[in-house]
Symmetry: C2
Subunit: 221 residues, 2 copies
């Protein structure tokens, strides 16, 4: 298909598609004349993932390129492609750099390690600091500790149990896709796309729980 | 205490505190000389909340000001203060505005309404579109539908059940604070502060679940 059809079928404006092509987020089409190129279903699918990352996930262009490069890296097995792709996604605020922050980061690391040990999450314990999600968690817990908000192992445990159930739901969705390539793409896209779903549902559920506990008093929404 | 001590005790640089004062995120201190003001524990606590919102929650200055104004609005009851404050928090990407987006938003609204009805979440059904969390959810579901990712009521239900458990954990944490004012502040702060905790835990749990299902194959991290 030509650029105009790719735009029509994807719902992405041609100017945006041209921008993605220039930025290397979309592979070039097959050139048919000096000014025209031909695109295929692979472009359409790739465009869908790029939109998910950039529009919903607010993933910066450079990170999106890194994610996509990992997904296509033929030198890696399925496993490593996915790991590298998800690790390239943004992982929230970086830790503060002053001295008191470093202390609370150390304490947060001990809390997170104790939590992972209690949950028997082996992979996370093995990879520790190499994993961006682990560092994201340590940063968040360290900030809470510094600000004096509750974040002990017992406080975090219910969130970890909920996360376990979410992971089951995530993998059930991913398994619906047939080919390994589609599963890879879906794993990255659904990791990002379900984040606002989850945060929105949590805020709504807070109101419901508050009304359940306090009658007409509203907390959360 | 003087500005220098407020800075030392809060860990926030004096230049940043002055910026928050100028932006109205922190009430002015009691002026003691032409160049010096005196701050108290209320400033320290407020500073803690401002840091949570801006540093972790990436809340824009204008929204943070709106949140804080609501928390202090004496004309509102406890309830309405909290509702207004949480509603002023950012709620993720705005819906796209083209025509095909509007169609998928309408379909997404029907999906979300069916989900809320199935869960018997009464408050959310009553407030619907007035609630920013509801609109956030509709936008996220609409985007997924447009991109062709799974987001039917049955797909969303496990996420909603996890959200219910999260809300119980959230309210348990908030109830640890004694006074109504502290609970208000904690409700806003913990809504924001636990978001990266939850997203980090979910990504870690994905890897664990993947290893549980597929042995050495890694999904998620």
């Amino acid at each position: 298909m030509r650029l105009a059809e790719l735009s029509r079928r994807s719902g992405v404006p041609t100017a945006t598609i041209k921008y993605y092509l220039r930025e290397g987020l979309l592979p070039p089409g097959r050139r048919v004349t000096a000014t025209q190129a031909e695109y295929d279903d692979a472009h359409l699918k790739r465009l869908r993932l790029v939109r998910a990352l950039i529009q919903v996930g607010r993933v910066p262009i450079a990170s999106a390129r890194e994610v996509l490069t990992a997904l296509e890296d033929e030198s890696l097995d399925h496993n490593s492609r996915l790991g590298t792709a998800v690790w390239a996604l943004p992982h929230g605020p970086e830790p503060a750099e002053d001295e008191s922050a470093q202390e609370s980061q150390e304490a947060a690391r001990r809390t997170v390690d104790a939590l992972l040990a209690r949950l028997d999450w082996e992979f996370a314990q093995e990879y520790g600091d190499e994993s961006p999600a682990y560092r994201m968690l340590v940063t968040a817990v360290g900030t809470m500790a510094r600000l004096g908000y509750p974040c002990a192992v017992d406080d975090l445990a219910p969130y970890a149990h909920a996360a376990q159930q979410l992971a089951v739901a995530d993998l059930d969705l991913i398994e619906r896709f047939d080919s390994p390539d589609e599963q890879l793409e879906a794993a990255v896209a659904l990791t990002v796309l379900y984040e606002p779903v989850l945060l929105g549902l949590r805020r709504i559920a807070q109101t419901e729980e508050s009304n359940h506990r306090y009658g007409q008093r509203s907390t959360g929404e």
